[in-house]
C-alpha cells in the first residue's frame, strides 16, 4: 500500500508507458484502464439550497431549492444551459456569491459534517482553497497577470499548509510536475501570459490540488480550450482523480464531457434540478423532456445521421419563471396539470437513484413508452424549425 506521500509523486518510468508514440503523442485506449474510482460515503450534502438575486426587476431565483449529494471519490456532473443556475450553485458552495445583489436565502450545505452556511467568514476562508478548491473556466482571467505563477501557486500553500517560502516552492514544483508542465523549476518565475491556454489550465489545476483538497469544483474547465487540448486536460483530470481520489463537481454545458468524466449527473433547468441519475442511466434512458431534447439536439460524430431535435423557445429569465413547471412553455408534452402546479422530483420505478421533475412520471402513471413519445414530438418540432 503506497503512503500518501508516494501517491503524490508523479509516476516517472524510465521506459515510456505503453501506447506512447514518437513525438510525445500517445494513444489512450479507454476501453481498458478503469478511470472509475468507486465512490464512498457522502462528503458534501446540499439540502434545499436557495440563492436569490435581488434587483430592480424583482427577485431572481437563480438557484431554487436544490438538493444533491457528493460522495467520496465521486465525480458529479452538473449540466445545463446558460442561466440554469449551475455556476451559482458552485459559487454558493464556496460562499462566493456577491452580496448585494445575491444572497443565499435558505438551505444547508453540509461538508464533512459542518454546515458551511453557518461558518464565520474567517472559518470559511480556511475551507476555501484548502478543503474545497475551484478550477475556473478562463485561466487567463482567473490568474493574476502581475504575479508569477510561482507566487500564485505558493500563496495558498503557505497560507493553508503553513510552509516556509522554500518549502512552498518545492511543493509548487511538485504540483506543476504532477500536472505535466515541462521544466517546472525553470517556469516557476514566469508570468501567466508566458503560458499557452492549455498550460494555464494545468496551472489552475496545480493550484487547486496544492493543498490536498477533498473536493474540487471545476466550472467549465475545458470550455475555452481547443479540442486536442481539451482531450489533454480531461485525460489529466481523470488520471489525477483516479490516483488521488478527490471528489469533483464538474459543471459544464457539454454533455459529451460529462459522459466521459462523471459518475452521476444532475441536469439543471431554470434554477432547479430537473433530473438526476447515474451517468449511464441519464444517457441511455433519459426521462425528463428537457434531458431527452438536449441529448437529441446535439450532433454527434459517432452517429451523424438524422435531423436534430429542437427545443422550441428560450430559457426563461430567473426573474420571470412561468407558473407551474418551469419547462412547461417549451415542452411538447405539456398538459393542464403542468401549468397549475410545479412537479416534484419523482423517483423512477426500477431505477434506483434516478428521479425526474415531471408530471409524466407520477408514481402510479409511469409508462415505459413515454420516453419514445417525447422524442418523437421533439423531432417533429425539428422538422418545423
Amino acid at each position: 500500500m503506497a503512503t500518501k506521500d508516494e501517491l503524490w509523486k508523479p509516476e516517472k518510468s524510465p521506459t515510456p508507458p505503453p501506447g506512447t508514440l514518437p513525438g510525445g503523442a500517445h494513444i489512450v485506449d479507454e476501453a481498458s484502464p478503469a478511470l472509475r474510482t468507486v465512490p464512498g460515503e457522502p462528503m458534501l450534502e446540499v439540502k434545499g439550497l436557495c440563492t436569490y438575486f435581488f434587483g430592480e426587476e424583482g427577485v431572481g431565483k437563480a438557484v431554487d431549492d436544490v438538493t444533491f449529494t457528493v460522495r467520496k471519490r465521486e465525480v458529479l456532473g452538473i449540466v445545463g444551459e446558460s442561466g440554469c443556475g449551475k455556476s451559482v450553485t458552485s459559487l454558493s458552495i464556496m460562499r462566493l456569491i456577491p452580496n448585494p445583489p445575491g444572497r443565499i436565502t435558505g438551505g444547508e450545505i453540509l461538508f464533512e459534517g459542518k454546515n458551511l452556511l453557518a461558518l464565520s467568514e474567517e472559518e470559511m476562508r480556511k475551507v476555501r482553497g484548502n478543503k474545497i478548491s475551484m478550477i475556473f473556466q478562463e485561466p487567463m482571467t482567473s490568474l493574476n497577470p502581475v504575479f508569477t505563477i510561482g507566487d500564485q501557486i505558493t500563496e495558498g500553500i503557505r497560507l493553508h499548509m503553513k510552509l516556509g517560502k522554500s518549502q512552498a516552492r518545492e511543493r509548487a514544483v511538485e504540483m506543476m510536475e504532477l500536472v505535466g508542465i515541462p521544466a517546472p523549476r525553470d517556469r516557476l518565475d514566469d508570468y501567466p501570459h508566458q503560458f499557452s491556454g492549455g498550460m494555464r489550465q494545468r496551472i489552475m489545476i496545480a493550484m487547486a490540488l496544492a493543498c490536498d483538497p477533498t473536493l474540487i469544483i471545476a466550472d467549465e474547465p475545458t470550455t475555452a480550450l481547443d479540442v486536442t487540448i481539451q482531450a489533454q486536460i480531461l485525460e489529466l483530470m481523470k488520471s489525477l482523480q483516479a490516483r488521488l481520489g478527490t471528489s469533483i463537481i464538474l459543471i459544464t454545458h457539454d454533455l459529451a464531457v460529462v459522459a466521459e468524466m462523471a459518475h452521476r449527473v444532475n441536469v439543471m433547468y431554470a434554477g432547479r434540478v430537473v433530473e438526476e441519475a447515474d451517468v449511464r442511466t441519464i444517457y441511455k434512458t433519459p426521462k425528463h423532456p428537457y434531458t431527452i431534447g438536449l441529448l437529441c439536439a446535439i450532433p454527434r460524430v459517432d452517429k451523424p445521421e438524422g435531423k436534430l431535435c429542437v427545443i422550441s423557445g428560450t430559457v426563461p429569465s430567473p426573474f420571470h419563471f412561468p407558473k407551474g413547471c418551469r419547462f412547461g412553455n417549451r415542452c411538447p408534452m405539456k398538459f393542464d396539470k403542468c401549468e397549475a402546479e410545479e412537479p416534484p422530483l419523482f423517483p423512477i420505478k426500477g431505477e434506483p437513484g434516478h428521479a425526474a421533475r415531471c408530471w409524466l412520471y407520477e408514481p402510479d402513471k409511469q409508462d415505459p413508452t413515454t420516453e419514445k413519445e417525447v422524442r418523437r414530438k421533439m423531432l417533429e418540432a425539428g422538422e418545423r424549425v
Binding site: P22, H26, I27, D226, I229, A231, A259, L294, R300, C309
Partner: protein, 345 residues
Amino acid sequence: MSKHFMEVKSLQKHFPIFGGIFSRPVAWVKAVDGVSFFLKEGETLGLVGESGCGKSTTGRTILRLLEPSGGSVEFMGRDLVTLDRAEMRSMRRNMQMIFQDPYASLNPRMTVGSIIEEPLVIHSIGTKVERRKKVLSLLAEVGLREEHAARYPHEFSGGQRQRIGIARALAIEPRLIVADEPVSALDVSIQAQVINLLQELQERHKLTYLFVAHNLSVVEHISDRVAVMYLGKIVEIADSRKLYAEPKHPYTRALLSAVPIPDPDIKPKRIILEGDVPSPIKAPTGCRFHPRCPVANADPTRLAKCRSEDPPLVDLGGEHFTACHYVPEADQIFGITRHRQPGQS
C-alpha cells in the same frame, strides 16, 4: 475557366507585425499560407481547425473583407482578387456572410427591419414598399414575427439575433454564404434550431455554404465535404463521411479522436497530442505538423523529409485529398483509426 462553382487557388493572407523605431514590418503572421480548394454548387463545405489555424481568415479573405496577399479566387467566371472596388461591390450581391457573435454584428441603434433592409438599400434593389415587403417575408422565413421589425437587437435572445443575421444575409438572395462559427455562441437547444434553419434555407434557396467552425460534430452534421486546417494550410479535404470514418492525415486522426462523445459506453481509442499548436509567426518548416507528428518522429529519414519538404495536397482517390508524405506509414502506426464502428453509417 474553372469547372467548379468557386475555386480558391493558393490563397494567402499575411499580417505584418510592426516594430522598431520606424514601425516597419519585422515579422509576418502567415495566417493563411497557400490554401487551395473548390466549392461545388449547392454543397456545404465545412472548414475546421483549432484556434489560430486561419479558418476564419480564409473565409473573410475569400469575400475580400480582408485583402488577400496572394492567390486567386475564381467565382462566376471572374477572379475576385483582381476586381476593383465597384466590380467587387456588385459581385458581393452573390456572396454574404453570417458572423459568429450575434451581439457584435448587429448595429444596436438600428431597428431589426432596417438592419435586414440595409443590404437591399446598398444594392438599390426594389422600391421602398417592395423592400418593406421583402423584409417581412424574410422575417417569416427565419421564424420571427412581423412585429419584430420595429424592435432593436437588444430585445432579442442570442438565437433570435442569429436569425436576424441570417435574414440579413439572405436579403439580396446570394448564391454563396460564408458562415463563420454561426452557432458556437449559442446554447445547445438554440444551436439545434439554427442548424436546422440553415439546412432548410439551403434546400429552399439552393445556397452554397462555406461553414467555418471549430466544433467537429456540428461540422460533420451540416457538411457534405470537410476541409481540415492546421497553421494556415489545409491538411485534408474529403467527403465528410469518409473523412470522419477514415481520416488519413495524422493531425486529422488526432483531432477526430479527441472529440468527446455523449455516450458513456463508447470509449474511443484516443490519440493525445503533445504540446500546443506552434505560433504562426514561426511556423515549422516543411510539413508544419512535423514537430508533433508521431509518424514523422518515428524515423529519422522521415523526419528529415518532413522537416524540409512541404507535402502537397494529393488526391488519394475519390476526391480525398491529404497533405502527408507518409499516409501508408500512418495507417501502420495508428491502425486504421475508425472513429465509427463499421456498420454504423
